[in-house]
């Protein structure tokens, strides 16, 4: 085709020899001349074909590039790709931690670190003088020295704030550069430090949630999705505020407080004092870093009578009208078990609990027996580590030999050490209808099934609620009353173990409570370490005077935050939380047992 085209062009060309010479019909080329023309034509055709082939190849390549794209090739130019997916790329590579309402507890911020290339700094003295004006915490002499060194890299200051960075840029000093870094920031400071934890300089979680969920928080695929805790910052603050107030009032060396949702095990507040600023971990003492709620295990004292009573009720060994004789102290194996508030008579179960009788609690536990008590404690999770999302978890301390004497002391909370968190979750099971729910620091999905085991019956749970309410209405915990919120609870005063036995003067007082008692929703634990008596408490440092008031004030403060309405005590509510003969009128037609009958019943 091309040959014919060329032929035609040749013919049309006015400079073609054919036009100058005679018309083609008259001239016939023969021999050598014809041969030369034929050769030229062949060469032209060959060259044209070659060019055509090249163009076809180019066209094919163009089609290939534009329409038939290879998947391995980038779809867009590289520079565009890097930033085009910015939506999927988080700005930082460690996920934020937020509380249940979305308040930021921990976040990573991009910061700029200032460094210098001293060889490019023109006037080290002047530059240092200017820098110190913007960053007053730097020492001018030190910076001058650094900027006049021979090296090509010196740090001036790490982690500038954006404002400081802008100020340094405005100075316009040549030879200063910024290196982008990431820094973990805890806007809430010490408030949530034991729960949230902290990271090292390389942003590796070392403690708390930061430590436990280090992998999850570092996971690039989930870095843009914050980790939601179950904590409620307002409640957390209220707990910390009240504990701080009590520490100051009673000159205590430490305190711990927990607010737990009794229905689903969510920890709404967890405060351990003394605490520290997470930004200044290095300066924090060991005591400040110690999480008393999960790592610390303590002999809880009388709060354990809750479990002795529940155990006896559950086994049917005693009912609300039954009781034990607490006239004489128990002497066993060289020990004497006596009462702090001795009544020296037969006590019914509500009285035993209300007056916190060690003697009767010990007798109750002995009736259950060591094996039964051990099994019950096991069921309540006191013999294992609680499974909460923190690396700092203390295992309980309990006797390896569990005989009658251990059974007696454990009944009133001595000889077994558990963490406040374990106590809170076990008390949750006592009041919530009998289910032990695994405590958690992560907000639960309301639709997910709840990991819960039944530990006591619904009936026993109701009776425990009544007993706990009685303690606040008439017993040792009157100061925990928060009008309208039907608080129920139990005091616990334990002597701390020192060198050579228990120390009478250093106490560990606690109050474990739940509210509102007709339908318990929240468990509150408050614990004070070595509180001292004051004039207001008439010199007493026991739980009823030191720990119970914390709970009373706290419940009044947090109930509106948690959306618990104040309860008007209608007859129905009253009958749900009151015990006939104590804080409710005695049932008609059923006379109370006389003292003589009670004595007989104790044998």
């Amino acid at each position: 085709m091309i040959a014919r085209f060329l032929q035609r062009r040749q013919r049309r060309n006015p400079c073609h020899p054919a036009d100058l010479q005679a018309p083609p019909s008259l001239v016939r080329l023969d021999g050598a001349a014809k041969e030369v023309i034929e050769t030229g034509r062949t060469r032209l055709v060959t060259a044209a074909l070659l060019f055509a082939l090249c163009f076809v190849v180019l066209a094919a390549r163009l089609v290939d590039l534009t329409f038939i794209r290879n998947d391995t090739e980038p779809r867009v130019a590289r520079a565009a790709t890097l930033v085009a997916k910015v939506d999927q790329f988080p700005v930082v590579d460690r996920a934020a931690i937020v509380d249940r309402n979305g308040t930021l507890l921990a976040t990573s911020l991009r910061t700029a670190s200032l460094y210098a290339d001293p060889r490019k700094v023109l006037n080290a003295r002047e530059a240092a003088a200017k820098l110190v004006r913007v960053l007053p915490e730097l020492a001018q002499a030190d910076i001058t020295e650094r900027l006049s060194s021979d090296r090509s890299f010196v740090w001036i200051r790490r982690n500038l704030t954006p404002r400081q960075q802008q100020q340094v840029i405005t100075l316009g000093i040549p030879g200063l550069y910024f290196h982008g870094e990431q820094r973990r920031v805890y806007p809430q400071g010490a408030l949530t430090v034991h729960a949230v934890g902290f990271t090292d300089v390389d942003n590796n979680g070392l403690a708390g949630i930061e430590g436990f969920f280090n992998e999850r928080l570092r996971d690039p695929a989930r870095a843009h999705e914050p980790l939601t805790l179950s904590l409620d910052l307002s409640v957390q603050h209220a707990v910390r505020d009240e504990l701080l107030r009590s520490i100051a009032a009673h000159n205590a060396i430490g305190a711990a407080g927990i607010v737990l949702d009794a229905r689903n095990g969510e920890v709404l507040a967890m405060v351990s004092l003394p605490d520290f600023e997470p930004g200044q971990v290095g300066e924090a003492s060991k005591d400040q870093r110690f999480n008393r709620n999960t790592l610390g295990v303590y002999e809880m004292g009388s709060t354990f009578k809750t479990f002795a009573a529940a155990m006896a009720l559950e086994k049917g060994l005693v009912n609300m009208k039954g009781g034990y004789d607490a006239t004489h102290p128990i002497r066993i194996a060289g020990f004497t078990i006596s009462d702090d508030h001795p009544k020296k008579r037969w006590l019914s179960l509500p009285e035993i609990y209300m007056y916190s009788s060690n003697i009767a609690a010990a007798k109750m536990a002995v009736d259950v027996g060591p094996a039964g008590q051990r099994a019950f404690m096991q069921k309540l999770g006191f013999l294992g580590k609680p499974a909460i999302e923190l690396p700092e978890i203390g295992g309980p301390l309990y006797p390896r030999r569990w005989n009658t004497i251990e059974t007696m002391t454990i009944a009133f909370g001595h000889g077994i050490s558990v963490s406040p968190l374990q106590l809170a979750s076990a008390v949750g099971a006592m009041v919530n209808g009998g289910f032990l729910v695994q405590p958690t620091l992560i907000r639960r999905d309301p639709l997910a099934p709840l990991p819960a085991d039944r530990v006591i019956s619904e009936r026993t749970s109701r009776q425990m609620r009544q007993l706990m309410r009685l303690v606040v209405e008439q017993g040792t915990g009157k100061k925990a009353e928060a009008p309208g919120y039907l608080v129920g609870g139990k005091t616990g005063t334990a002597e701390k173990v020192g060198a050579g036995g228990y120390k009478r003067k250093s106490l560990l007082t606690s109050f474990v409570a739940a509210f509102p008692m007709h339908a318990p929703r929240y468990v509150v634990v408050a614990m004070l370490d070595e509180p001292k008596g004051t004039k207001e408490t008439h010199g007493f440092a026991t739980a009823g005077w030191t720990a119970a008031p914390i709970v009373g004030r706290l419940v009044t403060r947090i109930a509106p935050i948690l959306g618990v309405p104040p309860v008007h005590e209608t007859p129905e509510v009253r009958s749900a939380i009151a015990i006939p003969g104590f804080n409710a009128p005695a049932e008609p037609g059923r006379p109370q047992p006389t003292a003589q009958e009670r004595k007989l019943a104790s044998f």
């Binding site: 062009r9 565009a80 930033v83 910015v86 911020l109 806007p187």
Partner: protein, 167 residues
């Protein structure tokens, strides 16, 4: 024909080159724009993170409490101050000092105006208005305001009026 084809080819080449040239530069410009936008986006997201941290810091419960104690005359909420919505009486069970009328012709049952503590005139009640409030206008809910004449003159339904004035 050969000539026109040549011209056509040259023109086409020129047009295509011109188009390609512009396309290439347009793409480059758009890509630069995209990068600029993405950079701005990144910068803004970083700024948002900083602001979120700052907000969280400035609204620490501790700081809010301190400020509230210093500047506000407020005390912690007491249980007696909390009421359920169903405990709040409906507006109609309270004596309505002013009534809203949809039509001036329908006499609305309403309580007798309370005896006035002083000799109030209509002009005293509405010092700035010459015209009487018209039907359909909510009247000021001050107890001293007497009912406008068109309501006073309307005969109330006896049974309802008796029921209303009973308490």
């Amino acid at each position: 024909m050969s000539r026109s084809l040549t011209f056509f080819a040259v023109a086409l080449t020129a047009a295509v080159s011109w188009g390609l040239y512009h396309l290439a530069y347009e793409v480059q410009r758009l890509e630069d724009e995209l990068i600029d936008y993405n950079r701005a986006l990144l910068r803004d997201r970083e700024a948002m993170q900083v602001l979120a941290a700052e907000w969280s810091y400035l609204t620490r419960p501790e700081a809010l409490q301190e400020r509230a104690l210093r500047h506000l005359d407020m005390r912690p909420l007491l249980p007696v101050q909390i009421a359920r919505i169903e405990h709040i009486p409906f507006a109609e069970t309270l004596a309505p000092a002013g009534a809203v009328l949809s039509s001036g012709d329908i006499p609305l049952p309403r309580p007798r105006p309370r005896p006035l503590p002083f000799a109030a005139t209509r002009e005293a009640a509405y010092p700035n208005s010459q015209a009487a409030p018209r039907a359909g206008t909510p009247l000021p809910s001050s107890p001293v305001a007497p009912a406008p004449p068109f309501l006073q003159s309307a005969a109330p339904v006896p049974a309802l009026a008796a029921a209303r004035s009973a308490p």
